[in-house]
Structures are given as structure tokens and as C-alpha cells.
């Protein structure tokens, strides 16, 4: 392998692509689609309070990755067997170029075109940055990881095009494996959940029975088994003669189904979307302005990695959902409108507090993406190795149905 050889191939590939194919048109359509998505997102969030840039950034990057995974495989999936069909591969193989020169040169050319697609989407990321809420460092890390994912997809396509004789087979195999990484990992994770689930006795923190018996003899016990925490009845506003405090929390043992996602979260880590989404999470309060796909994916993956913890078994809402104290609450209320306003403020702050607690929990979970990044790196290196081996000449074993020239 030599720099000169790699450059020769990369220049040849790029020159061919520039002249023959519809890449300028595809690039234009790509720009319009991403632009439309960004415009719609902005239209949806522009009048909201908070960091509108994060939503814009999330949606744009999500679409760039999603559309990129549709476009990028076509850059390499027919590259080697297509050349063989055209009868131009063997003439290169009899020159001083090595098989590594050919494979790496083709990979670099395809990757350069993928980066052109990223570049075409960058104005919208800059827009998101101007709109506020996204740090430059976070953005750069996510874009770098995204570029890496695209390189791995390029390498995958190259391998299949080196392995199969027919271009249609390699194209199908490449798209199938991209789909396997995207959907297969999620499906495998979902299937793994009931398989890994166990019925076991766990220690749950709840509001003590004693508290309810003292204050509301009429209300059924909250510690009865089988009542999931989500269905906890809301606090009847103003009806309580006394509100429970953290001091009223007690531990009880309860038989419960536990999903052991902490054993299978790595399935999610192999997903390119998770890798990109989790590379640079915002660590912001758990508050979605609207559709923030990357943040949601990252939170989901880290929640899975966290699994069942004492924190997640804490159902004592005075601890997990502390009541916000709104300043000036005790002041006499002037009129109905002001009263409504106060109530709304209180609710917002209440939500904020709860989200902060959940965010703190998630922030304690180690990042998920390095595993996927490493895994994709191995895939990339492995596929390049296979492709280089497959192009090595003189050939001893020729795959069935291929002619060299």
C-alpha cells in the first residue's frame, strides 16, 4: 500500500463519479430535503421558550444520519464487482497498484462524497447553533462520529462488492446489513427483554401504610403488590389534611417482574443511531420541546444500561417528585387570573424538579456510544481486510461464476 497508489485510485474514482453520475442532482435534492425538515422543525418550535436550537440540531442530525444510510451504501455497494463487470478491474490489478491501494482508494473516494453530503447539511447545523442551546464541541463530536459511521457503511459496501459476482447481490446485502444494524439491533433488544425478565422479590421504597392510615383511612393502601408506580393516583389537590414527607418513606419487599436491560443494553449500543445520538448528549434537564430524536434515543439507551436500580424502585413520591415551593404562595390572591398564573408556574417548576432528578440519574450512567463506536470500528477494519484479501492476485480460489477478465 502506498500513498501514491491510493491517490491514483481515489482520483480516478472521483473523476469518474463527477462526470457520469447524478451526484450533483442527488446532492441538490438532499439539500432541499434537509432544508425542508429544518424549516418545518423551526416553524414548530420558533415560538417556544427555551433552547430552540437543540430541537433543530437533533432533528437535522437525525435526518442526515437516516438519509445518509440510504444514500451512502450506493456509493460503494457495486464498486468492485461493477468494475469487474466493466472489465476495468483486472487492468488495474496487473499494474503496480496493490489490492490495498485499490480498496483504500475506493473507500476514501466514497467517503469524500459522503462528507460532501454532510457538508451540504452543515448550514442547517450552523442555523441550530445560532438559534442557541447547542455547544460547538458537542456538535463537532456528533458530526465526527456521524462521519465515522458513514465511513464504516462505505467499507461494508466495498466488502460485499468484493465478495459477490453480481452487483445486485452486493447492493441487497449492503442494504440488508445496514437495516440489520438499524432495526435488527432494536428488535433483538425488544425480544431480549421478556426473555431476560425475571420474577423476583425486590425492595421497593414507598410511602408507608402507617401514613395513609393516619391521614386518610378511606384510601386503599399504596403498598399493595402489583401496583406499578406509574398508576399512582395524583395527589388530590387541597384534599389532603397532611402531605407525606420523605420521612414517611419506608422499604417493603415486593414480588415483581424485573426487566434486566442492564444485561442486553449493548445490543442498542451497536445501533448507528444510538452511537451518534449518545456521542454528545446535552445533559440538559429532561425536557423535550417537541421532537428531539437524538436526545430521546440517547436517554433510552442509557436508561436501558442503567437497568433496575434502587432509584428506579423508589416509588415514594415525596422523594422522587418533591413539591415545588413557589415564592409568594402565601400572599393573598388578588383575582382568579393571577391565581391561575400562580398555579401554572408551580406546575412548571414541579415538572422541572422531577426532570432534574431523572436527568441526574441518567447522567450517572456511563456513556453507551464508545461500545458501538468500537464495534463499528472493528466492523470497518474487518470489512476492509476481507475486501483487500479478496482482491489479492494471483487468485487461487475463484468464486463460482466470476471471470477475472
Amino acid at each position: 500500500m502506498s500513498l501514491h497508489g491510493i491517490r491514483t485510485i481515489a482520483v480516478l474514482e472521483l473523476r469518474q463519479r463527477m462526470r457520469t453520475s447524478r451526484w450533483p442532482v442527488v446532492l441538490g435534492i438532499w439539500f432541499l430535503i434537509i432544508g425542508a425538515v429544518a424549516g418545518l422543525t423551526w416553524w414548530a418550535v420558533h415560538d417556544q421558550a427555551g433552547d430552540r436550537g437543540t430541537t433543530l440540531y437533533d432533528v437535522v442530525l437525525f435526518f442526515v444520519l437516516g438519509l445518509g444510510m440510504l444514500v451512502v451504501p450506493s456509493l460503494t455497494a457495486t464498486s468492485i464487482n461493477g468494475d469487474r463487470e466493466q472489465g476495468v478491474l483486472a487492468t488495474l490489478q496487473t499494474t503496480l497498484l496493490t489490492s490495498a491501494d485499490i480498496v483504500v482508494g475506493k473507500l476514501l473516494a466514497a467517503w469524500a462524497i459522503s462528507l460532501a453530503f454532510l457538508l451540504a447539511a452543515s448550514p442547517f447545523l450552523v442555523w441550530a447553533w445560532i438559534a442557541g442551546g447547542v455547544e460547538v464541541g458537542r456538535m463537532l463530536l456528533a458530526v465526527t462520529v456521524l462521519a465515522f459511521v458513514l465511513a464504516v457503511i462505505c467499507a461494508l459496501g466495498l466488502m460485499f462488492s468484493a465478495l459477490t459476482a453480481r452487483t445486485i447481490s452486493s447492493a441487497v446485502l449492503t442494504y440488508l446489513s445496514v437495516a440489520a444494524f438499524t432495526f435488527g439491533t432494536v428488535i433483538a433488544f425488544l425480544i431480549s427483554m421478556p426473555i431476560m425478565a425475571t420474577q423476583q422479590s425486590v425492595r421497593v421504597k414507598v410511602v408507608s401504610d402507617a401514613f395513609y392510615q393516619q391521614t386518610q383511612p378511606g384510601i386503599a393502601s399504596q403498598t399493595q403488590p402489583g401496583i406499578p408506580s406509574q398508576t399512582q393516583p395524583a395527589i388530590p389537590e387541597g384534599k389532603l389534611s397532611a402531605e407525606p414527607t420523605a420521612a414517611d418513606c419506608v422499604y417493603v419487599n415486593r414480588d415483581q417482574t424485573i426487566l434486566h436491560t442492564e444485561r442486553t443494553w449493548w445490543l442498542l449500543a451497536l445501533n448507528p443511531f444510538v452511537v451518534v445520538a449518545d456521542a454528545a448528549p446535552s445533559h440538559k434537564p429532561l425536557k423535550y420541546l417537541g421532537f428531539e430524536p437524538l436526545q430521546m434515543i440517547s436517554d433510552g439507551a442509557r436508561t436501558a444500561r442503567m437497568g433496575t436500580t434502587p432509584d428506579s424502585l423508589n416509588e415514594c413520591w415525596p422523594e422522587t417528585q418533591p413539591t415545588a415551593v413557589v415564592a409568594g404562595r402565601s400572599a393573598p390572591l388578588q383575582d382568579q387570573q393571577l391565581q391561575d398564573q400562580k398555579q401554572q408556574d408551580q406546575q412548571v417548576q414541579q415538572e422541572q424538579l422531577v426532570q432534574n432528578i431523572q436527568r441526574e440519574r441518567l447522567n450517572k450512567v456511563p456513556a453507551v456510544w464508545p461500545y458501538g463506536f468500537g464495534f463499528l470500528g472493528l466492523i470497518g477494519a474487518g470489512t476492509i481486510w476481507v475486501a483487500v484479501r479478496r482482491l489479492r492476485t494471483p487468485i487461487r480460489r475463484l468464486p463460482r461464476g466470476t471471470r477475472i477478465a
Binding site: L12, Q16, T20, Q86, G87, V88, T95, L96, L398
Partner: protein
């Protein structure tokens, strides 16, 4: 590297799964000569050339190209070997000149030198006026000529040409012959394949006949060669006359070894000088001669015999 070694193939065999493409081929191609590889379709010529061209490893037997084993040291072989495939695929979007420059880069020739070489070669194969057209629009024969130029970019001393004459018009064929003779005269080793006998008769010094993956005969075609030594050798000529009985009588009278055919007669003389003397004598005798040409009767017979049993 030993440029004087040419090509040496002994007992080479290659199968693709259950298809035995090359069974047992022995051949030798010497520097300064054009060696023809003749055989019907499917005889295994392309497969043999792929093995010589460092693309395919033989199952058995040994190959030496300029004294180097292409399996053990393909790179060294590639540096001195030019290969022209029988397919004429080329990069669609590049111009004719760019194709040659790209191949030059692949042989690590500096850009300026590659550009100069491309210009030279385009003149040689008469594609100069098409130099800046896309390679895609070339006709089949023009693509063949571009293929030849591509094989010559790095001035190889060993040339492997797979059916170079197919698709060429008569004029291009004569030009091809001149180019190949020129290369041979400069000391290169040329191995040229074809399934059409007449394509190679004027080009080659010797022919190897291949059938069903086996080399069945090696024939000397020295009358086609213009070097001094061959002029002394026995050569075969075919004479046609308006009056065959008188021709036969005259030949017998002058004591020439003859082999009568239906509409002509083959004679055996000692070299080119003797042949021209014989022609002068016959014309002097007033015999109406319409054709006096080198005969490839022996090669033809061998070729037909070797390929008789094909399906």
C-alpha cells in the same frame, strides 16, 4: 530479472471447479520473437494468459516470466510485463488520453512523463485525433487499439496480447502487425493469442497450438520473419498457375520438392533467396503464374488435426 529468458511454461494446469480450463500446457516464447497461441474457442488461451499475467495462480506446473515466478513475485513481473485482455472494458468517463495517463500513474510514472508517453502511444496506434474524446464512444477496433496502447505504457519487455486482432479492420490489422514486429525487433518477447489462424500467420515467428487445454504442437513460421537467419532456412511456398500441368512439369524438371494440391502446388525451397530464384526461373520458362506466396500448409494441417474433435 532476466530479460533474455522470455516466457517459459512447463506443465501448467488450472481448473475452475469441475471445468478443466488448462490441462497441460508447455510453451516457450523467446525475446525478439512473436509467438502465437492458436486454438479454438474455449481451448484455454485466455486462462493461460491470465496465469502469465499474474492474475491467476496455476494449480500445477511452473511459469517463469523473464526468469521470475509470477506467483511468488507478481510485482516484479508486473513491472516488466504488459497485458492486453480480450475484453475491451475501459473507464467510461475518462478521455482516451486520460485513460493512458491513469495507467501511467498506476505504474508510478511521473505525471509529465506519463503525459508524454500517452502522446507517443496515441500516435503509435493512430488515436491521436480521438485523444480528447471519451473512451466510451470509441468503436470496437479503436478500443482494441487503445487496449494495446494501455499495455505498452510502461515499455514492457514482455507482452501478452489476448486476441488483439479481433475486431480490427484490415488496415488496422496490418498496422498491428507492424507495431508487433517493431516491438519484437527491439528485443521484446510477445505472446499473442487468436482463434483465427490467418490472423497470426503474417505476425508470428512460431505458433503454439492449444486444444482442450493442452499444447499439441509447436510450429516454426520462420518465413514470416524478416531476420537474416530465417532466410537460410527451408521455407514453404504455394504457387498457383493458369496452366497447372506445365507448372508441375517445370518444377519436376528443376528438381523442386512438390506437394500437389487441388488448385495449387506447395513447394519446399531453401530460404527466401532460393524462392525468389525459383520464381524468376519459372517466369523465365514462360509459365503463367498468378500467385507465389508463403504457404502455411503444415500449420494449417496441424491446427485442423488438433481441433478436429471439437464439439
Amino acid at each position: 530479472m532476466d530479460a533474455a529468458a522470455g516466457i517459459e511454461v512447463t506443465g501448467v494446469r488450472r481448473a475452475f471447479g469441475s471445468v478443466l480450463a488448462v490441462d497441460h500446457i508447455d510453451l516457450q516464447a523467446r525475446p525478439g520473437e512473436v509467438t502465437a497461441l492458436v486454438g479454438p474457442n474455449g481451448a484455454g488461451k485466455t486462462t493461460l494468459l491470465l496465469m502469465l499475467g499474474t492474475l491467476l495462480a496455476p494449480d500445477n506446473g511452473s511459469i517463469r516470466i523473464a526468469g521470475i515466478d509470477p506467483v511468488a513475485a507478481p510485482r516484479e513481473v508486473r513491472a516488466t510485463m504488459g497485458w492486453m485482455p480480450d475484453g475491451f472494458g475501459t473507464w467510461d468517463a475518462l478521455t482516451v488520453r486520460e485513460v493512458l495517463e491513469t495507467v501511467g500513474a498506476a505504474y508510478r510514472i511521473a505525471p509529465t512523463a506519463a503525459r508524454a508517453r500517452a502522446g507517443e502511444l496515441l500516435e503509435l496506434v493512430h488515436l491521436g485525433d480521438l485523444a480528447d474524446r471519451p473512451a466510451r464512444v470509441l468503436s470496437r477496433g479503436q478500443k482494441q487499439r487503445l487496449g494495446l496502447a494501455r499495455a505498452l505504457v510502461h515499455k514492457p519487455s514482455i507482452l501478452l496480447l489476448d486476441e488483439p486482432a479481433s475486431g480490427l479492420d484490415p488496415r488496422s490489422r496490418i498496422e498491428l502487425r507492424d507495431i508487433l514486429r517493431q516491438l519484437a525487433a527491439s528485443g521484446a518477447t510477445l505472446l499473442v493469442s487468436s482463434h483465427i489462424l490467418t490472423e497470426l500467420q503474417e505476425i508470428a515467428d512460431r505458433a503454439v497450438i492449444v486444444a482442450r487445454g493442452r499444447s499439441v504442437a509447436m510450429q516454426d513460421l520462420s518465413s514470416a520473419s524478416s531476420d537474416q537467419g530465417s532466410r537460410q532456412r527451408v521455407s514453404h511456398w504455394r504457387i498457383t498457375s493458369l496452366d497447372p500441368p506445365r507448372l508441375m512439369a517445370a518444377l519436376v524438371h528443376h528438381g523442386v520438392a512438390t506437394q500437389p494440391l487441388t488448385d495449387a502446388v506447395d513447394v519446399e525451397v531453401a530460404g527466401d533467396v532460393a524462392a525468389s530464384e525459383l520464381l524468376a526461373v519459372l517466369v523465365g520458362d514462360g509459365i503463367p503464374i498468378t500467385a507465389f506466396a508463403p504457404s502455411y500448409g503444415a500449420l494449417e494441417t496441424a491446427y485442423l488435426a488438433a481441433t478436429e474433435d471439437r464439439q
